[in-house]
């Protein structure tokens, strides 16, 4: 029996080697090793680092951190490679573990998949206890699987609705001031209607359509609608009955009805140029928006669909490649990256809530009374990825190796709902496809 399955496996791997060379390396290479802990190495020499290319300011912050690390000591030299954000995750998926760098960045929800594929090593032995102790609880829990930590983040994330105070006041729209008095979905619709009356082209909302909805943005940005309606992307390893509840369906119907208010925002300037009064997006637009609007910028929570307002949580994090031969040096670089100077520089660059305790406490933006206090308040009420109650706010996307399928199917459904398909039909279809995929993969149990 085992020889037959080995034969199949060999055939399949050879097939991959010819058809999809990179994929084959990942599949066959990953299976070969059982031990995922990296070699600690000498702690000296050159290490490679991969990061995603995001906003210019973020890239500059990473580059500056690498440069100052290289000049601060002479034992370790870091070589940084920036890879375009859109293809970043795909690049890691398609790269053999032995080709991966010593230190790599990854998007939070993809971590479980990389652990499952044996591409990430636990970092506990290589990162100093000081760094680990200084990480926020949210950052630590995002990076933890089975009691081991695989990643630590420099920053967390949050969603909100940015408002243009001048336009809101002109239309006589009253807006919430904290998470506790968030708009209900109906109030949000009413606000859109009132704003539309005062708007020359009738478009008053931006949902960053330019990022695409059949993408990670779709899942991150709009899964809170499902959570806020009491639904869930995945419950106890099943999507059917969690994703397609009547409440989720009706919530997404409401979302669908907002399309007529949405500016397609092809130039990315709809909110900054006062064309729309509301922008449904994350913390990362704060630097751009605050520069454009100054004191007219207000930050509101996402609307409440019945189960309390919800937001996404979790962001890019750093980990150590499973095949690193110099994990000690990699850990030293991570310690440096997660110090107050670098975390503060990065969070200043992208407006994100810092993911270390000391940097968060010192943050001008997120402290009590700061302009982005709302995001900090949301993150202070974490739900995790399973217990989505009425009182918690920040929900982590499902921590499972099956996440690529979940996000692909949910994004697809969201995109077609936005395009006019019946939400019930689209969500049920996505749920069935997710469940099928999980059963094909034995529930994605991490071995």
């Amino acid at each position: 029996m085992s020889s037959t399955s080995r034969k199949y496996r060999r055939t399949a791997c050879t097939g991959l080697a010819l058809v999809l060379p990179l994929a084959a390396l990942a599949a066959c290479g990953g299976g070969g090793t059982t031990d995922t802990s990296a070699e600690s190495g000498s702690g000296k020499g050159t290490i490679s680092v991969w990061a995603h290319q995001g906003q210019k300011s973020e890239d500059a912050a990473v580059q500056a951190a690498v440069k100052s690390f290289n000049s601060s000591q002479s034992d370790i030299k870091v070589e940084l490679k920036l890879i375009p954000g859109n293809d970043y995750t795909k690049t890691i998926t398609a790269t053999d573990a032995s080709e991966l760098p010593d230190v790599m960045e990854f998007d939070g929800p993809t971590m479980a998949n990389f652990v499952y594929n044996k591409k990430l090593a636990p970092i506990d032995d290589f990162v100093s206890t000081k760094t680990m102790g200084n990480a926020t609880d949210a950052s630590k829990s995002q990076g933890e699987i089975g009691g081991k930590h695989y990643g630590l983040a420099m920053y967390d994330s949050g969603l909100g609705v940015y408002g243009n105070k001048k336009l809101l006041d002109a239309a006589g729209v009253k807006y919430p001031t904290s998470v506790d008095d968030a708009w209900t979905a109906d109030e949000f619709t009413a606000a859109l209607k009132a704003l539309k009356a005062k708007d020359s082209d009738g478009k008053t909302l931006d949902v960053q359509e330019g990022n695409g909805l059949a993408t990670e943005w779709g899942t991150y940005g709009f899964a809170p609608i499902v959570w806020s309606a009491g639904g869930s992307l995945l419950k106890d390893g099943k999507a059917e009955g969690a994703l397609d509840t009547p409440a989720s369906v009706s919530a997404l119907k409401t979302f669908q009805s907002w399309k007529s208010y949405v500016d397609p925002n092809t130039d990315g300037n709809a909110f900054a140029k006062d064309r729309v009064a509301l922008s449904w997006v994350g913390h990362w637009m704060y630097p751009t928006y605050s520069e454009a609007l100054g004191d007219d910028l207000v930050v509101l929570p996402l609307p409440d669909f019945g189960n309390g307002p919800k937001t996404g949580q979790g962001s890019w994090a750093w980990g150590i490649g499973a095949d690193s031969k110099n994990a000690k040096a990699a850990g030293a670089f991570m310690d440096y990256l997660l110090n107050d100077t670098n975390v503060t520089a990065m969070t200043t660059a992208n407006g994100a809530p810092p993911a270390t305790k000391t940097a968060l406490a010192a943050s001008e933006l997120y402290k009590q009374g700061g302009p982005l206090q709302l995001f900090a308040d949301q993150l202070a009420k974490p739900c995790g990825d399973a217990d989505i109650s009425k009182s918690c706010v920040a929900v982590t996307r499902p921590v499972t190796a099956g996440y690529p399928t979940i996000t692909a199917k949910f994004g697809e459904a969201l995109n077609s709902i936005y395009g006019g398909t019946d939400p019930k039909e689209a969500l049920s279809k996505a749920a069935r496809a997710i469940d099928q995929d999980f059963s094909d993969n034995a529930g994605y149990q991490i071995p």
Binding site: S5, Y8, R9, T11, A12, C13, T14, G15, L16, L18, V19, L20, A23, A26, A27, G30, G31, N86, K90, T93, A94, N113, Y116, N117, K118, K119, D201, K203, Q208, E209, G210, N211, G212, L213, A214, T215, D263, P264, N265, T266, D267, P404, T405, A408, K409, E412, N415, S416, G419, G420, T421, K429, R432, A433, Q436, D437, D440, N441, A442, P447
Partner: protein, 332 residues
């Protein structure tokens, strides 16, 4: 090593030959000659055949192998034998077969529209540009220009043109032309126009290539033929029908074939526009798009392989039929 053995074996055979030499001249020399032609033919086609086997034959066979297994990109689970399950899902599972059959239909629609329209347009442009005008080179380069741009870039630019609401260039142009009576229209988001938009942008990008090939064909037609036709009092249309068309028949057939093959490959524009948001995915999803996203977004290599196998067979069948129908004359 094996190839050496016959060489060793040959000399003894010749040594044995002398007793029979008398018989040999009696045999005509032709069969030997023909034999060698066959050998030379085989030798010369070897590089092409080897390439075909290495880049089409073997990948196809392995795609078939992959498609009957449950293979996941980068999964620690061993691939398991799946039989025809992937094919069953593609054709009978309503959730999977719906998008797949729709994407097949979209591909066909695209090909059926693009092949005649793009070829016709390319022919028209080629005739237009096959004149002795001043600075004709400039015009030719202008019309050829879109071909030089990568499709991904073209798609990004057309996103600005086709954007919904009055921010879109097409909508604002129509608004200006109709004195403000044109309401903003969602070209990419509306299922009625999404595919049409893709078709228009693809033709715009690709037509220059076919045009250049046809232009070369047109310039092969000797000018005397037109002079003779003129002497016979043939009008413009008659000249076109009886001189131009027969003159470029071979080129035209080649262009039609090429356009059909290229039009089955449509992927980039759909991929870029969907990622940019606002594109109606169901109305524009093509088989290539479906295969690539299944393999690389959902890591489902087995399913993607099954999609490509089915698609390969369909395209091969269609190409064979097409070759039958528009076979070029024996003149070449």
């Amino acid at each position: 090593m094996k190839s050496v053995e016959p060489a060793h074996a040959a000399p003894p055979a010749r040594e044995q030959a002398p007793p029979v030499t008398d018989v040999k001249p009696a045999r005509p020399a032709r069969p030997g000659r023909r034999n060698r032609d066959w050998l030379h033919g085989l030798l010369m086609s070897t590089p092409a055949v080897a390439g075909l086997i290495a880049f089409v034959g073997i990948p196809f066979c392995y795609a078939v192998v992959l498609s009957v297994h449950n293979v996941r990109l980068g999964s620690p689970l061993e691939p398991t034998f799946f039989g025809l399950e992937q094919y069953r899902r593609l054709f009978t599972d309503p959730d999977m077969s719906g998008p797949f059959l729709r994407s097949l239909l979209n591909n066909l629609t695209f090909a059926v529209v693009v092949v005649p329209v793009q070829t016709g347009l390319a022919l028209g442009l080629a005739i237009l540009l096959n004149r002795k005008l001043k600075a004709i080179g400039v015009f030719r380069s202008l019309f050829f220009m879109p071909v030089v741009f990568p499709m991904a870039l073209v798609a990004v630019i057309w996103r600005l043109i086709l954007a919904r609401s009055d921010q879109g260039m097409l909508n604002s142009a129509l608004d200006a032309v109709s004195f403000g009576n044109w309401g903003a229209f969602d070209w990419l988001g509306d299922s009625a126009t999404a595919m049409a938009s893709i078709i228009v942008l693809s033709i715009w990008q690709g037509v220059g290539f076919q045009m250049v090939i046809l232009l070369a064909g047109l310039q092969q037609i000797p000018g005397e033929l037109y002079e003779a036709a003129e002497l016979d009092r043939a009008g413009r249309w008659q000249q076109f029908r009886h001189v131009t068309l027969p003159g470029i028949r071979g080129t035209l057939v080649f262009v039609v074939m090429l356009t059909s093959v290229l039009s089955f490959r449509v992927f980039d524009q759909v991929y870029v526009l969907v990622k940019g948001g606002g594109l109606n995915e169901d109305a524009t999803r093509t088989v290539m798009y479906q295969a690539v996203t299944t393999a690389f977004d959902q890591n489902n290599v087995g399913q993607a392989a099954a999609i490509t196998v089915v698609f390969f067979l369909i395209v091969v069948a269609l190409t064979l039929i097409q070759r039958r129908v528009v076979r070029p004359d024996n003149e070449d």
